[in-house]
């Protein structure tokens, strides 16, 4: 069965979807990704959907689900490279993907993830400081 590869880059996971997602593939990806986040203790997930030209409400929901699940596992999800037609379709379907971060391309997505993680780290440091005081 086809699988979408999940690559590890430091504390981030990188998923590039190069084929059109069908339902079973999307479900497998969801399961694999959650497993992977748990296993690698990743802080961020970056999903590149620049090659995806067709989406339906199911796919929109899966992306939303992945984001929510990662959030619970303390990882931020960034979806990058969405095509204009896909964005319009999702909006028309009433799926604005609230809670999912987005970026134009992989580079910007990575920067976004890094800045988010930095913020979290800083917050943690602040808390540590307050404890020590």
């Amino acid at each position: 069965m086809d699988r979408i590869p999940i690559l590890r880059m430091g504390s981030f996971l990188l998923v590039t979807i190069q084929v059109d997602l069908y339902d079973r593939l999307a479900l497998t990806l969801e399961a694999d990704l959650v497993q992977m986040v748990n296993k690698t203790n990743a802080k961020g997930v970056l999903i590149d959907i620049s090659a995806v030209s067709i989406v339906d409400s199911f796919m929109g929901r899966i992306i939303g689900n992945i984001a929510s699940m990662s959030k619970i596992l303390d990882a931020e999800t960034v979806v990058v490279g969405m095509q204009p037609a896909v964005a319009i379709t999702l909006i028309e379907l009433g799926l604005p993907l609230k809670g999912v971060h987005t970026a134009l391309d992989v580079e910007k997505g990575m920067n976004l993830l890094k800045s988010m993680i930095d913020e979290v780290v800083e917050e943690d440091l602040d808390e540590d400081d307050s404890v020590s005081e």
Binding site: A87, L90, L97, T102
Partner: protein, 313 residues
């Protein structure tokens, strides 16, 4: 019988008519269709005279040669594609080529800017010419003249209706094309800074236009890799719940693409209406003017605009 004898003389000159057809013609009384066939040249001359002497002749839009060519084409089609049986039946296939030519002429005229009257005259003058020739041919037999005139009138009236229908269709096409062009022109996406796009919307936002605006904006975001888009609605006369819905859709789609969308140019009246309608714009960044939206964009991109100190000597 006098009319028949003239008719016989005329038809005998026409060499290509076969014997069988000849016999058929003698048994029939004078027939508008045959008249058309035999007196083609005569009709064309009369028609051209009628057209050229008409006050509504538009020499500025069409040359005489062009006009003659069009007239000849139509008469040729009329003559060569018709058989006696189908003469009064416009639905029959023989008429297709005539109707095609006529439609072509009136659509071109609609595009060239002829008035309906001028276009209609094209067919009306032909009718006049036909009736003139008919009168010359039939002469005193008023009953026959009336019957044949009725036939011709019915036929030409049908043709003029077709002319007008296609003329209007042609005009509508022109209007549609212009509407498309206006929609296209009225939604320019401007690159105000590296990574900042602005889209001033002038005029009412309806569903079709929102679609165009959205597509243009998203495509431009992809092309330029911009991360901030400013939607300026100072040129939108009124915002109702539908327009607001469209704006929210555009903003959400931009967000999905990974860019930020700011709505600027909200006039006090629009702010009032939006709140009265109970539209929630709280999760959209709104600014009063394009300037403040740009300032905000600079801030998010960590850019700074400063006044240069006077030149130091």
């Amino acid at each position: 019988m006098k009319t028949l004898s003239i008719f016989r003389r005329k038809t005998l000159i026409v060499k290509f008519i076969q014997d069988r057809n000849l016999a058929y013609q003698f048994t029939m009384s004078l027939n508008s269709y045959k008249l058309l066939q035999n007196k083609k040249k005569n009709i064309l001359e009369k028609w051209m005279n009628n057209q050229l002497s008409d006050e509504g002749l538009r020499e500025d839009l069409i040359s005489n040669e062009e006009l003659r060519y069009q007239s000849e084409e139509l008469i040729d089609a009329l003559v060569s594609n018709l058989s006696g049986e189908s003469f009064s039946d416009l639905m029959s296939e023989e008429w297709n080529s005539v109707i095609e030519i006529l439609s072509g002429i009136s659509i071109t005229r609609a595009r060239q800017g002829f008035s309906p009257r001028e276009t209609g005259n094209f067919v009306f003058t032909l009718k006049e010419a036909l009736l003139n020739v008919l009168q010359e041919e039939i002469g005193e037999d008023s009953k026959l003249l009336f019957e044949e005139s009725m036939k011709i009138t019915r036929l030409m009236d049908n043709l003029s209706v077709i002319t007008f229908e296609t003329f209007i269709k042609g005009r509508e096409e022109v209007i549609l094309r212009q509407t498309d062009e206006i929609t296209e022109i009225s939604t320019p996406v401007i690159r105000v800074w590296d990574g900042i796009l602005a889209l001033p919307i002038i005029g009412t936002l309806d569903s079709a236009r929102t679609q165009v605006v959205m597509e243009n904006l998203l495509q431009e975001i992809v092309d330029t890799g911009s991360s901030i888009a400013i939607l300026d609605i100072s040129g939108v006369p009124a915002v109702d719940s539908l327009v607001a819905q469209h704006l929210i859709k555009t903003v959400s789609a931009t967000r999905l693409m990974g860019a930020e969308c700011i709505i600027s140019g909200i006039r006090p009246e629009i702010a009032q209406t939006v709140v009265h309608l109970g539209i929630d714009l709280s999760n959209i960044i709104t600014k009063a003017s394009l300037a403040s939206a740009l300032a905000y964009a600079f801030k998010t991109m960590r850019l700074e605009v400063r006044k240069i100190n006077s030149v130091q000597k």
